[in-house]
């Protein structure tokens, strides 16, 4: 049993960059960006939990403890909402930075350099904030237990952390630390991230825990936007991505694009580099030849049918997680669109010839053409179906010709 939540290495890491806390363009830029979102979430939850109606100073009479307060990025706005706030942090430098800033802004906040297991207080708190802290502590179970002891009965504890998913690895570690260099390399250790399930599985903590809505790995992967930080950068820094009113034009790219790109990559790899790919091509190109050479053509065909059903499921998942409703008619005509995109990309209808890159380009061309029909004045948008039909019929007519051209006259 450990009796400390302090991880010396983590403390040193943050002490080094402490003077940068309040620089919106500095090391803590992502936190500054994220701050309004989490404050709104915390505020909504607290108002709901304590049934507060006071709009002026909603947190009046609430005592709140901010654990791992850092430079006070969260403590100060909470204080402005009227709360009686206490901030503790294990780094002396962080506390000093926080004290100085609070003084400059004339805010009354009690800052202590301390950790929850050593913090002595005569009264407990209504709300405890453990925001982006559990991934930096030594013993999470112990930390949550000690924090809980500081909470009043019927109090509210927030625990926010980075979920340990592939996405968080790509964006928080690779993206933010290595590629964009927003954070010094090593700020976060992915294997210290905690999943919502691990957090709720901590027995003592269970009843206090309320996790942030962003902790939904499946929904996050299929729905919502990706590359938001890039689009933010394009908007704030590069001054692109601006619409005619000067607002941000697009917040990001639909997540389904990421799913599509990953899938295309996998298909490209399998089809052009692997044995399975050769079998697929030959089963389509010359069934009897494939059979004669020992390719299990029936298994190939069945597997491909299963795979296309799997792809249809992926499409359904992206649709459902994007709009939060299931529309059974959503897939209507999609099968024809898939054929059209493939033939535009150079796949021949009788099989055995085509590339994934071709299909990717075909899909983009078809998608753009489909959208374009909505902007042609005087005709209805669903006229793209005429285009769809024309593409498929001409592909069918040209098929034998193209095939002959590929295989030569011999």
């Amino acid at each position: 049993m450990k009796n400390s939540t302090i991880n010396k290495k983590e403390i040193d890491k943050f002490s080094k960059i402490a003077e940068d806390w309040w620089n919106p363009e500095g090391k803590f830029k992502p936190l500054h960006k994220f701050n309004p979102t989490r404050i709104k979430y915390i505020k909504d939850k607290i108002l709901n939990h304590f049934k507060i109606l006071n709009k002026e100073k909603p947190f009046k009479n609430l005592s709140i403890l901010d654990i791992g307060c850092g430079g006070g990025l969260l403590s100060e706005p909470i204080s402005r909402l009227g709360a009686n706030i206490t901030g503790i942090d294990a780094s002396e430098k962080n506390i000093n930075a926080a004290k100085i800033h609070a003084k400059q802004n004339n805010l009354k906040i009690n800052y202590f350099c301390n950790s929850p297991e050593n913090f002595k207080t005569d009264k407990k708190f209504d709300v405890i904030l453990n925001m982006e802290i559990v991934e930096h502590v030594e013993d999470v179970d112990f930390f949550i237990r000690k924090s809980s002891e500081l909470l009043k009965k019927n109090g509210l504890m927030f625990v926010a952390t980075l979920n340990r998913t592939l996405k968080s690895y790509i964006f928080a570690i690779v993206g933010a630390e290595y590629v964009l260099r927003w954070l010094p390399i090593g700020t976060h250790e992915w294997n210290k991230f905690i999943t919502p399930k691990e957090l709720t599985d901590l027995d003592l903590a269970r009843e206090y825990i309320d996790t942030l809505p962003s902790a939904r790995p499946v929904a996050d992967f299929f729905g919502g936007d990706i590359l938001e930080p890039l689009f933010e950068w394009l908007y704030f820094t590069a001054d692109w991505n601006v619409n005619m009113f000067g607002n941000q034009f697009a917040p990001g790219i639909y997540s389904c694009v990421l799913v599509w790109a990953l899938l295309a990559l996998v298909c490209y790899f399998v089809l052009s580099k692997t044995q399975a790919g050769n079998w697929i091509y030959s089963t389509g190109g010359n069934l009897s030849a494939a059979k004669a050479n020992g390719v299990p053509t029936n298994k190939v065909k069945i597997s491909l049918f299963i795979f296309s059903a799997f792809c249809a499921t992926l499409v359904a998942a992206t649709q459902v997680f994007e709009v939060n409703t299931a529309d059974t008619a959503k897939g209507t005509l999609k099968e024809l669109e898939a054929i059209a995109a493939a033939v535009i990309g150079g796949v021949i209808l009788t099989g055995g010839f085509g590339t994934v890159l071709g299909i990717v380009l075909g899909t983009i061309i078809f998608g753009i053409s489909k959208e374009a029909f909505f902007y042609i004045p005087g005709i209805d948008g669903s006229f793209y179906r005429v285009f769809l039909g024309v593409v498929i019929v001409s592909a069918a007519l040209a098929n034998e010709n193209i095939r002959k051209r590929i295989i030569g006259s011999g």
Binding site: K273, A290, R403, I407, G408, G410
Partner: protein, 261 residues
């Protein structure tokens, strides 16, 4: 030649399909390094014989011995594992993909896992080029689609593939039909090259007596499921071949019949 052991020996092979007898006691001996021409009219039983040898059909009676050992084929796979490589007329090629992909179709060289492991294209290209060169075709680019190759080159590809994957007995089903003159010659040259390798026995099924005379060491004539003539190339006269090709004794009968008209 007689002191040599036959690579494949067929004794009294019979194949019946219900009431119909397709092969009625056929016997053959084929030696390594030899081209054995199998001639006969349509319906003579050539195709049935090949299908029995390649394991598609099961013989009704008789035996097949490979290198002196009796074999019993239950499937085409058994036959090819025993060393019989059959090159059918359609060649079992996929014209839409590359020479290399066709050469290794179903038996790809892979690094890592089966099925989803990477194909070793460098090695496969090299083997393809080498094996094709051994029997006389220099392909410049093993990544060209088979569709761009001539009929003769395709035939060579199919033969090279069969040999590389262990065929000791090569059955060529009408390799020169459906080809232009020049390409026919190309294929005959290829067969000659395979013959010169010395360790492979070739069964050449053909309609074309001229081609057979050019490269075959030994002939067997089939008619209505029976062997009606057999011999070494040197012993057979051109007239004999023509007569036997046309169905043997029957042509004599017909001559007589026609004379009385």
């Amino acid at each position: 030649m007689e002191e040599q052991k036959p690579l494949i020996e067929i004794n009294n092979l019979v194949k019946r399909f219900g009431q119909f007898t397709a092969l009625n006691g056929v016997s053959l001996k084929i030696y390594p390094g030899e081209v054995h021409a199998l001639l006969g009219d349509n319906g003579a039983g050539k195709s049935t014989l090949i299908k029995v040898l390649s394991g598609v059909h099961h013989p009704s009676a008789g035996e097949i011995k490979i290198e002196g050992e009796k074999v019993n084929f239950l499937s085409p796979k058994d036959s090819s594992e025993a060393g019989i490589g059959t090159v059918y007329q359609d060649l079992a090629l996929n014209p839409l993909t590359t020479v290399t992909r066709n050469f290794f179709l179903g038996r790809e060289v892979i690094k890592g896992f089966r099925l989803f492991g990477l194909m070793d294209f460098k090695k496969m290209n090299q083997i393809t080029t080498n094996e094709m060169a051994k029997i006389g075709i220099d392909i410049k680019n093993p990544n060209q689609p088979v569709g761009t190759m001539s009929g003769g080159q395709r035939q060579t590809l199919a033969i090279a593939r069969a040999i590389y994957f262990g065929a000791k007995i090569l059955i060529l089903d009408e390799p020169t039909s459906a080809l232009g003159q020049k390409q026919q010659m190309e294929v005959l040259k290829t067969i000659k090259k395979v013959q010169k390798l010395g360790n492979i026995a070739i069964i050449l099924i053909t309609h074309n007596e001229i081609h057979a005379r050019l490269i075959a060491d030994r002939f067997t004539f089939l008619s209505l499921g029976e062997v009606i003539g057999q011999g070494e190339a040197a012993d057979l006269e051109g007239e004999d071949i023509k007569r036997l090709m046309a169905g043997g004794a029957e042509i004599g009968d017909l001559e007589k019949e026609l004379a009385f008209q």
